[in-house]
Amino acid sequence: MTITFLLLAATTITGTAAAMSLKNLVHCVLALTLGLVSLAALYLQLGAQFVGFTQILVYVGAVAILAAFAIMMTRSAEPAVLTGSSSFRVSGALIALVVFAVLGWAVWSGTGALAVLGPEPEAPVNEIGVALMHRFVLPLEIIGLLLTAALIGAGILAMDETRRTK
């Protein structure tokens, strides 16, 4: 429980909470970026360098940009007029709160057994690569297939309808 952790946790929570609550969608995406970068920093704290950099590459370089693009193309940047029932939102927030309470309780009461702190584990890129190519080669292939399918699917979905039917 170090200062760094607290600091990073604070930025993560601030960023993500802002991302979920700000009115302007572009601000939301920027706040989300902040949150996810601090999350990546947390991964680095935990010694998972590769995952941390991948996180930045994927979320900042791809997902956030994609979201920004989607916001621009759907003209969602202008704050919309609020309609609909507020009770629906309140109930949603309540459910989230209950979920947090349950999870928090579970964490609080359940992790005593794992209190022993082992030495800092190593996760060199080489070993990750070797593991990907041997033990985890099937998931890797499946992920590759999934990504290809997603690429093609996203392309077809985003294509102009006029061109698709041509």
């Binding site: 979920v99 349950v102 309780w105 009461s109």
Partner: protein, 703 residues
């Protein structure tokens, strides 16, 4: 291991690549397809020469001239299927021959097919064919050989039927394909049998291959229910494949019809390479063919080889007799090819690998020369193929005439200077000293006489006298005009072919002329090269034993044949295209009989095909009346039941079902209230369920 041995696969793969690329190319990219095919073939030729030189080098160093490279392909069960390639004198010679002749024919095709719309496709097929043929040559595995063999069959089909708009070409391609398939079925059975017996299909594998002594001895001790050992059985089955592909006697019918394809195809497939594949196959599996269980002396000949000899002798005579009475320029050459292939088989049977292969190589050169010359003649005569309507081309097509004469004399085996003489003489000599029977020798000698005769007949028809091309070319559609020539050569006057066609001819002619000197009895370089024996110059060998008498008698036979040809056809120039054949005047019924090739096609039509048709008619009748009737009856019964059911359904079941439907629909209306159309609502339910589950798990963990 040497680089060339390790990379021998490049030889067939390069044309394959060329074929693949030109298959993807546009129809318009003619230059690319042609240059790819020719270029790949040229590189393959260089590689083959390299391989040949490598074998020569090994030989001069006194090392073993046979090198194999095997690799594992895939595993099934506990066994690995290995493939591989082999470099030995046989392979090297064939490689050089196939790539050289192939390259020349490719170049020639550029000129011949110039006006064809499907130029690109043609070169794609040619390259694929060359690739498969080279694959057959280098394969060190019977299965690999068989695969390439089948591709050869496929490309032959595609090329014969290249002008598929022509019904005769389509029919010929089908015929070729089906006929060779008939031979391939026993071949495949032989492969399966061999695999079952010896457990490997590799030819040579450091003592473990199926052609090496361990395996052969094992095969010799395995009896079959029919009395002969399984080695003989397998050899005979494999020979069936060779019969089909090399157009031997019962299955020769496809080869003359295959002349429907473009002439370069005839030259490439039906002179130099594909038909030689059968001979080559027999040569390749010669250890299996010659395996005999009797006393291991030089004198006994295995049953398989006897079969090879007899089939070969019959084919040689048979083809020569038929060729006498043909009028289509390419058909004459086709029957001559049948006859010469018979010679080769006979040579393999009586004399061994070297004898047969020597004739194969010389024949490949002079026959492709002849075919290309014939193509040049046809091209010059605007697609005319009937020799009765040619004539007088000696002045008009001097290059073609000169080279054609060389090829013709080589085919006849004109004494001493022409390659055909030496290779044919070799076979006749071996047949003369065969210990089983003298009949093949006499059959071969008579066939040689006929060869000289029909070739001189053809020469006089084509080149002698005056041009008969212009007279009444309409009305006679005896030989179909090739679609590629009809439109572009409006004028009917014969003319010399372009350079791109004559140059390959001029390149082939000296080879056809001089190749024979590599295998004279005095200096049997070729034979010693193939058999890996010591080479010595020995002019005494010419006069040894029966050699001189056989040589002299065959010379006399050739001269006699040419003389008869001149007597009948050359003395007086042929007057007109309508005039009856000079030989036919002697005995018209016999001549017609020969002209229809002994009515073998008709015989097959009347027996096999007719039987097939009758059987299909019977099954059609059965289908129509017996089975269909049964089906109809069952149908009617079912229909009746269905009507009954329909009645019950409408009046009994439906009223109850409607009630059920209404209740379901009402409950659906109630449930649809849950479906609010708002994803987040569903998500909430999921989250609630998640909470419930977590609580349940925690509660259980506490207890």
């Amino acid at each position: 291991m040497n680089w060339i041995v390790r990379n021998l696969w490049l030889v067939p793969v390069l044309p394959l690549l060329a074929a693949g690329i030109s298959a993807l190319a546009k129809r318009k990219s003619r230059a690319m397809a042609a240059s790819l095919a020719i270029g790949s073939m040229a590189i393959s030729f260089l590689l083959s020469v390299w391989a040949f030189a490598h074998v020569l080098l090994l030989r001069s160093n006194g090392q073993a001239t046979q090198q194999v490279f095997n690799f594992r392909w895939f595993q099934f069960g506990n066994e690995w299927l290995s493939l591989g390639w082999i470099l030995n004198p046989l392979t090297a010679v064939m490689l050089v021959m196939v790539t050289f002749v192939g390259m020349l024919i490719f170049i020639y095709s550029v000129g011949y097919m110039e006006h064809d719309d499907n130029f690109t496709r043609f070169f794609c097929f040619l390259a694929l064919f060359a690739s498969a043929m080279l694959g057959v040559v280098i394969a060190n595995n019977l299965l690999l050989l068989f695969m390439c063999w089948e591709i050869v069959g496929l490309t032959s089909y595609l090329l014969i039927g290249f002008w598929y708009e022509k019904p005769s070409a389509a029919a010929a391609s089908k015929k070729a394909f089906i006929t060779t398939r008939i031979g391939d079925l026993p071949f495949f059975l032989g492969i399966v049998w061999l695999y079952a017996q010896s457990g490997t299909l590799l030819f040579y594998n450091n003592g473990a291959g199926c052609l090496e002594s361990t395996s052969i001895n094992h095969l010799l001790t395995q009896p079959t229910p029919l009395g002969f050992c399984s080695a003989t059985g397998i050899a005979l089955l494999v020979f069936c494949g060779a019969i089909g592909k090399s157009g031997q006697f019962p299955l020769h019918v496809w080869l003359p019809d295959a002349m429907e394809g473009p002439t370069p195809v005839s030259a490439l497939i039906h002179a130099a390479t594909m038909v030689a594949a059968g001979v080559f196959l027999v040569a390749r599996v010669y250890p299996l063919m010659s395996a005999h269980s009797g006393i291991a002396t030089e004198l006994t000949t295995s049953t398989a080889l006897q079969a090879v000899t007899w089939i070969g002798a019959i084919t040689a005579l048979f083809g020569a007799v038929i060729a006498v009475a043909q009028f289509d320029i390419k058909r004459i050459l086709a029957y001559s090819t049948v006859s010469q292939l018979g010679y080769m088989m006979m040579g393999l049977g009586v004399g061994g690998v070297a004898v047969g292969m020597f004739h194969l190589i010389t024949h490949a050169f002079f026959k492709s020369l002849l075919f290309l010359g014939a193509g040049s003649v046809i091209h010059g005569c605007s697609g005319e193929q009937d020799i009765r309507r040619m004539g007088g081309l000696r002045k008009l097509m001097p290059f073609t005439f000169a080279t054609y004469t060389v090829g013709m004399l080589a085919l006849c085996g004109f004494p001493f200077f022409f390659s055909g003489f030496w290779s044919k003489d070799e076979i006749l000599h071996a047949a003369h000293s065969w210990n089983i029977s003298q009949a093949p020798y006499y059959m071969g000698a008579f066939a040689a006489l006929l060869t000289a005769f029909y070739m001189s007949r053809q020469m006089f028809y084509i080149f002698g006298g005056k041009s008969r091309l212009t007279e009444s070319s309409e009305g006679h559609s005896h030989s179909p005009v090739s679609p590629d020539h009809s439109s572009h050569h409006g004028s009917n006057s014969p003319h010399e072919s372009p350079k791109v066609m004559t140059v390959p001819l001029m390149l082939l002619a000296p080879v056809a002329l001089l190749l024979g000197f590599f295998g004279t009895p005095a200096w049997p370089w070729f034979q010693s090269f193939l058999d890996a024996t010591q080479l010595a110059v020995d002019f005494g060998a010419l006069s040894e034993g029966s050699m001189l008498p056989v040589m002299l008698s065959s010379s006399v036979i050739v001269l006699l044949g040419l003389g008869i040809g001149w007597w009948i056809y050359g003395r007086r120039p042929i007057k007109s295209a309508e005039a009856p054949d000079n030989l036919g005047k002697l005995s018209p019924p016999l001549f017609t009989f020969l002209g229809h090739a002994f009515y073998v096609d008709a015989l097959y039509g009347a027996t096999v095909i007719n039987l097939n048709t009758q059987l299909s008619k019977i099954s059609d009748w059965l289908d129509r009346w017996i089975w269909n009737g049964a089906v109809k009856t069952v149908t009617n019964i079912v229909l009746g039941l269905a009507h009954l059911d329909n009645f019950l359904d409408t009046h009994v079941v439906n009223s109850g079902f409607d009630e059920g439907c209404q209740s379901v629909s009402r409950s659906g209306q109630i449930l649809s209230l849950l479906q609010a159309g708002r994803i987040q609502g569903y998500l909430k339910i999921v989250a609630g369920a998640g909470i419930a589950f977590t609580l349940l798990l925690l509660w259980k963990a506490k207890i």
